[in-house]
Structure formats: C-alpha cells, structure tokens
C-alpha cells in the first residue's frame, strides 16, 4: 500500500518532474525516503533559499514547474525569500515542506513553524494537508495552480504522520469540481479587440511595452509580428527582456528607472502605449500622475486584478497574450510611423548607452563584451542592483527564456542558484550568472551544489567591494554619506572558487576582458568564477530618480546634489 509520501513522489512522476531541489530534516524524512525509489533526481542544496531559487531558475528557463522539498520549521521558513521572489515574478514552483505530526500542531513542538500562515501573502495558493487521502488531489491541484493562468508558487505543507500514513484514494481525473473558484481568462471579448484596434489605428506615435507575461504565454513571436506589421517601436521591461529581440531596429531596449534614454524618451512622447503582459510597475512609471498623461493606454494582462491596479487603461484586454495578439493582429493595419521611428532613431544616435572608456575596468565594458562573445545567446541570471541594471542595459537578449532575474522582489543571492536551476533545465545551453560581490555571498554555498554536479555554469562577479546601488544613492541623494555599504572583508573569490573545486579567474584590466571571458566560456569541466574587479564608484545611468517623472531622467551624473527621492523607494 502506498503512503502519502509515495503518492507525493508519484505526483512528481505524473507531472514529469526531472529534478527536486531540497534539503532534508526530521519532518520530511518519509518523502526523502520515497524519492529513492523513483527516477527523479534529488539535488541536495546547501540552504533552502538556494533550493527555491534553483527551482525558480529551472522554471523560468524551461517553462516547466520547479520543485522544492524541505523540512519543517527553519527549513520551511528559509524558503520564504524564494517564495516571494517567485510570487513577484510569476514563476511556477511547488514547495513541499515537511511538518510536525498533526497531534503536535500548535504546541510549539520541535521544528514546528506555521509555514502555511507565514507564507500566505507570498504564495499563489497553499495547503496544509491533514488527511492523507487528500494528497492525490492536493498535489494535482498544486501543479495545476502553479503553472496555469498567471503562474506562481504553491506551498504544500505535509505533517510527517500524514506522509507516513497509507493513502486509499487515487488521483482525480478532473479538477474542475474541486476548484470551483479557480479560473483564469483565456480569450477576451471581441469588442475589446476592436476597441484596441481603433486606438492603434488612431495613433501616430505608438509604443508596445512588453513584459514577462508575453514570455510566459509564449507570445514572443506574435509580438514581433505585431510590431513589424504596425511598424511600432517596442520596449521591454526588465523581466520582459527576451520577449522581443533587442537587435531588431524596432527595439528601444529596456524602459524605466535605468532603462535606455531613448526608451524613456519614447515613453514620454508616445501617443499610445500598449502594455503586453506588464503591470505598470513603479520602476517603470516613475511619478504616476505624470506618466503618459496624454497617451492612450491599452492593457493586456491575464490577471484581472492587474487591470486598474495602477492605471486605468482606455482599453483592457483580459486574457492570454498569445491568444489575444493572434486575434488582434488580424484586425490591424500598418501604421504610418515613419516620422516617429525617425525621431527615435535620432534619440538612439544622440543618447546611446555609454560608459567611460578611460580609467579603470568598467562593469559595462565587461558586460558589453560578454554579450558580444556569447552572441547574446547565453542564459543570463542576475541578482539585484548595479550589476543587474548594467547587464540589462548591455546584454542584448533575443530568446524568450534566456533572461532570468529577480525583478519584483529584487532578491540578492538569486542569480547563482537560479543559474544552477537553469543549467539543470537546459544542460546544453551556456549559462552565466552575473552577480554582485554582495549578493553572491548571500547564497555562495550553492557553489558546492554546482560543483558536485560539475555544472559548467559561469559566475561573473561584478566586484566593486561595495553594495553598489545603495552606495550610488548615498552618493547622489545622501550627500556622499556612505552607510553600511563598504564590503571590506570580502574573500578572495578566485581562491574561494578553487576551494570549492571550481575554476577561478580574475579580470583586473580592460585589456584582459575578452581573453578571460573566453577562457571561462571554454572551460566546461565544472563551475567557473570570474572575479571582475571593476571601478569602485561606477554609477548606473541613465537614471530616473525614484518618485520622479520619466521626463526627469538623468543621463549622466549631475553636478549638484539631488533632493532625496520621495514617493517611492
């Protein structure tokens, strides 16, 4: 007779799970025992946060659901950052946590944590299983909910006695009767499509603003067709990178706080902005009351709650991006955007992304070279901060699964474990984790995980020995008063790599950039760390100060002290 634990593993098999990322402990031992009898590969991580980011990276690189297995108490609470990260960026992961036995729940038993309660705000849905016979249904629901509609993380908390008990039920054929409250729109109504086409036809200066939702729905191809048919420029969000080739003439790159100057100028001057799977994040709109005030707004998103959350669109298209765009494209005609595109081309020429060519080693130079040497085709994961923004600016993407970053949550320590997950998911693909020296140290022990499996991930540390983005803000807005940003005491990252059995390389001079990056590309016997010791006080520009209007973009460092940002963080 199968136990609850056996059924959980059987559910993984049915969902075609290849890898489970996790770390065991007392309460989850029955499930870790059952997995031994399956063909699913267990990836032992060094920390549960690492496991969640790996599952997330795996999910974003493959479109499949990432799976995590952890124990109760601190094992489970260590997943909270990973759950938040996945939740904010709509990544499908399922976390199975062990739990104290049911008679002990609520009695402060050893390693008991109310993880169900703790995680409510950071999951798409969650379960605390109290009857073993619910497991088949719960597991099927968990995978379905995580991966459908707007994807997200699902937590399944399983007390040890439940996992050990015998299960007498089978997997339900159909979930409809079990999930009467769960539905997600697919195709919107035709009236909205016609209204959208009318707005497009009335526009002289359109802009397509493409986000993560376009990638998730597999709409990249139809986005390109639509842009080319309309001859409309396209900007992508940080998470939308890859949903439209940045080498295409219609691309203006990333918009927002550290977007390209020409993308933001396009935003300011457009007369129509169409969001496709994007959510008008505060990093994009800046001061909301001054955002695109004269432009018509179209919002396409599968999540009804996103419509009207930040801005009231003139037309709402509620549903799946791919389905809706495939319909819409049949109802639109080419626009006369020649003059508009010419203006944008002028901005591109006048305000290109640039960096000082003289002086010490520049992060931008390293990332520019990385983009070039990898043909813009590597999978790139990042943490959050300066390196992330420089990488977003200079690494030119074109594949809809290659760019994996912590956007909404802005999680330090995401990049390297996410690269591990992505490499498991796409073993033949070159994978680069571009991280800061600060964030890298938050999940650094996962190098051991990567080394164990001889994964050829490459970790590029943009090392300025500072928490750089905070330092930049302190320089610009807090009168150069540096508080808590100096990372003195950093380890020697090359020696560190070697101690993990990884390759360690270092870039100190601009002249060495291409040679050493190429060395890393050519090394495939395991993880390779490249410690790029960049200018300590480099800044990310362009920049829209938090809370300022998009038109308040700064293209280079101002001579005067700026007022402290208001209205946003």
């Amino acid at each position: 007779m199968a136990t609850g634990a056996d059924i959980i593993i059987e559910a993984f098999r049915r969902e075609e799970v290849e890898y489970v990322f996790g770390l065991p402990g007392g309460a989850v031992m029955p499930i870790f025992d059952s997995i031994l009898d399956s063909k699913i590969e267990l990836i032992l991580t060094r920390h549960e946060q690492g496991a969640t980011h790996m599952a997330d990276g795996y999910a974003r690189a493959t479109g499949k659901t990432g799976v995590v297995m952890v124990t109760s108490g601190p094992g489970a609470t260590n997943t909270v950052t990973g759950l938040l990260t996945a939740h904010m960026d709509s990544a499908p992961i399922v976390v199975v946590s062990g739990q104290q036995i049911t008679p002990m729940l609520g009695k402060d038993a050893f390693q008991e944590a109310d993880i169900f309660g703790i995680t409510i705000p950071v999951v798409k849905h969650s379960y605390l299983v109290k009857d073993v016979n619910d497991i088949p249904r719960v597991m099927k629901e968990a995978f379905f909910i995580a991966s459908s509609g707007r994807p997200g993380p699902v937590l399944v908390d399983v007390p040890k006695d439940i996992a050990s008990a015998e299960c007498n039920t089978t997997f339900p054929e159909d979930l409809e009767e079990h999930l009467p409250g769960y539905n997600f729109p697919q195709m919107c109504d035709m009236e909205s499509i016609y209204a959208c086409a009318d707005l497009i036809h009335a526009s002289k200066r359109p802009l397509l603003y493409v986000g993560q939702g376009a990638r998730i729905s597999g709409a990249a191809e139809v986005v390109r067709e639509l842009a080319e048919k309309l001859q409309a420029p396209v900007t992508t969000t940080l998470l939308g990178k890859g949903a439209f080739p940045e080498t295409n003439d219609l691309s203006v790159g990333m918009l927002g706080m550290h977007g390209t100057a020409y993308a933001n100028k396009t935003v300011v001057d457009c007369d129509l902005i169409m969001a496709i799977g994007a959510r008008w994040d505060d990093r994009i709109t800046g001061k909301l009351s001054e955002f695109c005030t004269d432009a018509k707004k179209i919002h396409l998103d599968i999540d009804p709650a996103e419509h009207g959350k930040i801005i009231q669109p003139d037309v709402s298209l509620v549903g799946d991006a791919k389905l809706i765009l495939e319909e819409l494209i049949q109802h639109v005609n080419e626009l006369d955007t020649g003059a508009w595109l010419k203006r944008i081309a002028g901005w591109k020429k006048k305000f290109p992304l640039k960096y000082p060519k003289r002086g010490g080693l520049r992060a931008q130079h390293v990332l520019d070279a990385l983009s070039d040497l990898t043909g813009g085709e590597a999978i790139v994961t990042t943490d959050v901060g300066q390196h992330q923004m420089w990488c977003a600016q200079f690494y030119k993407t074109g594949l809809d699964y290659q760019w994996i970053t912590s956007g909404g949550a802005g999680t330090m320590g995401f990049g390297m474990p996410a690269a591990i997950g992505a490499q498991f998911g796409r073993p033949d693909h070159q994978v680069w984790a571009v991280v800061g020296d600060g964030g890298f140290q938050m999940t650094m022990p996962e190098l051991a995980t990567a080394a164990t499996f001889k994964l050829p991930i490459k970790v590029l540390i943009i090392n300025n020995a500072y928490l750089g983005m905070v330092r930049q803000w302190q320089e610009m807005f807090f009168d150069n008063r540096y508080s808590g940003v100096d990372l003195e005491g950093n380890p020697d990252f090359v020696k560190l790599a070697e101690s993990f059995g990884c390759k360690g390389l270092r870039i100190r001079r601009s002249g060495d950039v291409r040679r050493i990056l190429q060395q890393a590309i050519d090394y495939n016997d395991g993880p390779c760390i490249v410690d790029a010791c960049v200018e300590k006080e480099g800044n990310v520009f362009p920049m829209i100060p938090a809370g300022a209007a998009v038109s308040g973009m700064i293209i280079e460092k101002p001579k005067i002290q700026l007022p402290k940002p208001e209205g946003s963080t």
């Binding site: 409510i120 798409k124 969650s126 409250g181």
Partner: protein, 165 residues
C-alpha cells in the same frame, strides 16, 4: 459603489482551512478596516457564505474585490449597494431595567419590532432585527436607561429578486 467609504461585500468561498486568513490579509494590507464579518455554512455543503462590512478608500475597493476574486478558494466576491439588496442585522441589547421602567423599555422595543428575551430584577435583554441604521437608532433610545452591554451579529445581505448574492 458607496461614496462614504462604507462598503458591503458578499462572498461565496470554498470551505477550506485558511480561507479566512487569506481574506483578512487582503483587507489589512490595503488599509481597509473590517467593521463586521459574518461567516456561515453555505446552502451547498463544502462552501461558506461571508458578508463583510468594511470601511476604506472607495478608489481601492475595486482592487480589493479583484484581489478577493483572485483567491483560489473564492467562488465569487461581489460588492453591494443597499438598493439592490436586503440587509439585516440582529442585536441583543442588555439594559438596566427595574420593575418601574420595564414597560417603557418594552414599548420602545415594540416600536422596533423587538422583544424581550431575558428579564431579571435589574436588567432586560432585548432582541431586535433590522437594517443597521434601525439598530443604531434603537440603541440610542435605550442608552437613556443604561446599556450594560450589547452584541450585534454583523450585517448579512442577500440580493433582491432572482439576483445572485
């Protein structure tokens, strides 16, 4: 939509552990105060009915209803205006009552179609049902006698006609 910041939302939800926590968090995070919350078994087994009276920025209300709808356990969430619904609330009011003023209190109760459900030498408990404003008025009248304590059920609403609540 009410413009004074007071709203009534009714929900049909799957009767699953944690559903109340999830709903409460949607309100708390967005600065809405829940005035009353009535939960009862739905007429279909496995489902519950909730009526939530709350107070907060009307501009946020649409977002709150959408976030409630988004919960996997929510079958539906609807915001109601008083025109389209019948609303009722019940109160039990315990007042200081002596043999001398008992009949006066009973007279007032009668005007409100209330009735005494407990009487002692010094007190009386009166039950009254109606919309919330009626109960407020009833309470104000009883205050002159001295209210010892009172309990209100919180508002329940149902759509008029064949409409679905």
């Amino acid at each position: 939509m009410s413009t004074d910041g007071k709203h009534t939302i009714s929900m049909r939800v799957h009767d699953r552990p944690g559903v109340l926590s999830r709903i409460a968090q949607v309100f708390a995070r967005r600065g809405f105060n829940i005035d009353s919350l009535v939960v009862s078994a739905g007429h279909q087994p496995g489902f519950s009915r909730m009526t939530i009276s709350c107070e907060g920025d009307p501009a946020q209300l649409e977002q709150i209803v959408k976030q409630l709808e988004k919960l996997v356990d929510t079958v539906h969430a609807t915001e109601h205006t008083s025109e389209s619904t019948v609303e009722r609330e019940m109160a039990l009011v315990k007042v200081t009552a002596t043999p001398e003023n008992r009949s006066e209190i009973l007279q007032i109760a009668e005007c409100f179609r209330g009735k005494a459900v407990d009487i002692t030498e010094e007190s009386m408990v009166v039950e009254v049902t109606g919309n919330s404003e009626k109960i407020d008025a009833f309470e104000r009248l009883l205050e002159t006698f001295g209210i010892i304590e009172r309990v209100r059920s919180g508002k329940v609403v149902i759509a008029r006609g064949t409409g679905i609540t």
